[in-house]
């Protein structure tokens, strides 16, 4: 059974329709890349999945549980909404680390608050898990640094560890390297590649085409709020069926990507 099913998501901002009926599904342990030109709605789609925006129509189903159905009037409490959110983790383009906390504290904050609320607080276990995550991000020497003392690449790796600390079912990345200097993108792509090798379920919005081709099991090309084409990386990148896809990909090769 698919870990995530998205059915006919429609999102309007005022009178402009930004998502025009998005449906797809993905399997557990796979990586899905979302590509498409600027303004095609990739960020908006991720934000709908994370309940940062409320879709106007459609359904979001995770592991068979309907987390969101636009037809059902929103009656879930704040508590319930928070629980639903935790199926997804989110890594932002701008990192959004909390500046007043060290790398380790950034990773520990949410699990600590959640465990205290649930009455299962175990400081040592939380700290150990957080440290493990940071080590796996190659940050064993940076745990006690504050965000401003870290490079962009390091900050983004802390942000990935933070998103993973609550063990989400699906980890979402919104252009995780576009705010980075070119020489720093490699280290972040490397850890995401590592996550893919460990079969972390991921949705990655990216403009790094060769990375998307290498790392993902499935690729969705979005154009003007719709899915214009999808398939394996091989299908989408080597044998695109749609003219729009070809044009889009050509614009990348022209830039000498």
């Amino acid at each position: 059974m698919a870990i995530l099913q998205v059915e006919n998501i429609i999102k309007n901002f005022g009178t402009t329709q930004v998502l025009k009926g998005i449906s797809f599904s993905m399997e557990e342990g796979t990586a899905l890349s979302l590509i498409g030109s600027s303004g095609s709605g990739k960020t908006t789609l991720l934000r709908c999945l994370n309940f940062l925006e409320r879709a106007d129509e459609g359904k979001i189903i995770v592991k068979g549980e309907t987390l969101f159905d636009a037809k059902v009037k929103e009656n879930s409490s704040e508590e319930e909404l928070r629980r639903k959110r935790l199926h997804f983790g989110m890594v932002f383009q701008q990192f959004n680390l909390f500046p007043q906390y060290t790398a380790l504290q950034n990773v520990m904050l949410a699990p600590t608050l959640a465990a205290k609320a649930a009455g299962t607080y175990d400081a040592k276990a939380i700290e150990e898990h957080a440290k493990e995550l940071l080590v796996s991000m190659g940050l064993e020497n940076r745990m006690n640094n504050y965000p401003h003392q870290l490079s962009g690449g390091q900050q983004q790796r802390v942000a990935i560890a933070r998103a993973m600390a609550l063990k989400p079912d699906i980890l979402c990345f919104d252009e995780p390297t576009s705010a980075l200097d070119p020489e720093l993108t490699g280290e972040v792509l490397k850890v995401i590649r590592g996550l893919a090798e460990h079969h972390t379920t991921m949705i990655i919005v990216t403009h790094e085409m060769s990375f998307a081709r290498d790392v993902s099991d499935h690729v969705i090309f979005m154009d003007d709020g719709r899915i214009a084409e999808q398939g394996t990386p091989e299908e989408v990148f080597e044998h695109p069926k749609e003219e729009r896809t070809r044009q889009f990909l050509a614009s990348y090769t022209r830039e000498g990507e």
Partner: protein, 218 residues
């Protein structure tokens, strides 16, 4: 003579300090409430507060003191402030609290609005409650940003307390001025400046330390 003058000025400065401290005590929280109101989506809450802030920041405090002290008596034919020194002090305090709450409110608003929305969103996707996001993530960042403008405003307040003299609140400058009439000497008036300088110096040092303590993050 120096001792007599010093004691007398200290007495006046006590009143200055009392007005200063009580103004802060009430205007700091009131300003926070007003700043939340001035950002409210509800027009009937936002609009009157924005209007009040505009009036209080757009007119001299001196004038506000006079209006608040004499206004009710003129309009209602009844001095609501009570007789004597106590009444005058209360009126002065009310004027200062409202005036400074308006200034503080704008500082709080600037501080809160300067926090990037990404900080809230990061907290949300981590399943934090609104209260947790405000207390654990936003608040300290806001405090860090408002300490410099707050310290300016608070040091202004020290000096502004001298305006209370216009409705005959006996503060330190009045105490200094009194020696001109009684003893024909001018220097006690100038001497009052020393009291302001020392106190503002202390406050500056205090805020400097606070800024430094928050220097560990950006």
């Amino acid at each position: 003579m120096l001792l007599t003058v010093t004691l007398s000025l200290l007495n006046g400065f006590g009143m200055t300090l009392k007005l200063f401290a009580l103004t802060l005590l009430f205007s700091l929280p009131l300003g926070l409430v007003m700043s939340l109101g001035s950002m409210s989506k509800v027009k009937v809450i936002r609009w009157p507060i924005v209007f009040l802030i505009w009036v209080m920041r757009g007119t001299p405090l001196l004038l506000q003191l006079l209006v608040i002290y004499y206004g009710p008596g003129m309009m209602l034919h009844n001095n609501i402030w009570g007789a004597g020194d106590g009444g005058r002090f209360t009126a002065a305090l009310v004027a200062f609290v409202i005036n400074y709450a308006c200034y503080f409110s704008e500082i709080y608003r600037g501080g809160i609005q300067s926090i990037p929305v990404g900080q809230y969103e990061a907290g949300q996707v981590l399943g934090m409650t609104r209260g947790q996001i405000f207390l654990r993530v936003i608040l300290l960042q806001v405090i860090k940003r408002i300490v410099p403008p707050m310290s300016n405003e608070i040091i202004n307040l020290v000096k502004d307390t001298s305006l209370a003299r216009v409705i005959a609140v006996y503060e330190v400058i009045w105490a200094g001025q009194a020696f001109i009439k009684s003893d024909g000497i001018l220097w006690p008036l100038f001497y009052t400046g020393v009291f302001y300088l020392v106190f503002c110096g202390l406050l500056t040092a205090l805020f400097g330390r606070l800024e430094k303590a928050l220097d560990y993050f950006r």
